[in-house]
Symmetry: C2
Subunit: 210 residues, 2 copies
Amino acid sequence: MMKLYDCTTAPSPRRTRIFLAEKGIEYENIQIDLTKGEQMSDAYRRINPGCTVPSLVTDDGVTLTENAGISAYLEALYPEPSLLGTTPMEKAAIAAWNWRCEMGGLMSVAEALRNSSPAMKDRALPGPKKIPQIPALAERGLMKLGWFFKTIDRQLSSNPYIAGDTYSVADITATIVVDFARWVKVKPEEDQTALLEWYGRMRERPSFKA
Amino acid sequence: MMKLYDCTTAPSPRRTRIFLAEKGIEYENIQIDLTKGEQMSDAYRRINPGCTVPSLVTDDGVTLTENAGISAYLEALYPEPSLLGTTPMEKAAIAAWNWRCEMGGLMSVAEALRNSSPAMKDRALPGPKKIPQIPALAERGLMKLGWFFKTIDRQLSSNPYIAGDTYSVADITATIVVDFARWVKVKPEEDQTALLEWYGRMRERPSFKA
């Protein structure tokens, strides 16, 4: 059985958990408590020297440490239900929208949080290195996050899902963005009705609580 | 025939050109001169409102504007030679390494360049919006770029290609990083011999001059 090194409260491993839940894949869950710095321990460094979660250990004993790689692996091994698309155009739309959700959404929240939170002083980037915060980048992150919500609200006003007609990994990433944004006190605007309606549907999926 | 809106001197559309060349796909090339601001013109905004290159217009008339989407589309339509991997583990390694090359490599150079170059004053992010530069982010970008070269030198000291045994899209992205890094006066160190040897092989591929 695959093993997931996870931290229930963190956004990145939640992407993996929702992906696994949507595919219906069973796995062993091992918690790494980021609030106690367990990701920096010697024991965890031997599993993932980058000191990040998630780490997914496959049945062959290979450790995968990036959501990009984990999604590609799981989609290839368990093609149904597809989360990365089946036709060339579906694959294109899903990869492009997932990228936008990562760059415009996740990265924006991470910039805003890591460069402003007192708890993340000198931890402005993930991993073991000491990195000082840049307050101006926190502000830029908040601005980009506002644009991102506008972009997906517009997209969702004419599409049921982020990348078009079907649920995909882009919906997973965008769901994480909406929830993660609360960490920097940002929510979709009340007039972003397409985004809010979509988020309501995402909350009702069993995978939401994965 | 597909149409590529391109700018020969810019790094992002060069990723697309090398991808197309490695697949042996013919296309019509239309130059958008970024030095003249042609990407902001009304004519180009009608093709890509995001005002970025590349834009690939497919035979069906659909415009794809992100390398992530363009690669997924072309790989699905023209599977040979594969650039995104064939086995689940190859796909995982290539997607993870391509992500590292994008985040640790391309983004680091972009942060360093866009937040320091006098020519990019108020254009610290791609697209039509005015964004002030953050000098501290330029410095952080240079630091991350140094780490990235160390990471791929280590990877290449035990693998012939960035993601393992075969040439892939990760080699394309990393090639662009090495060339783009010159814009911020950064080169691999002389003792990064695995990286330098790999780059020499990349330069000899016909696609290098695509």
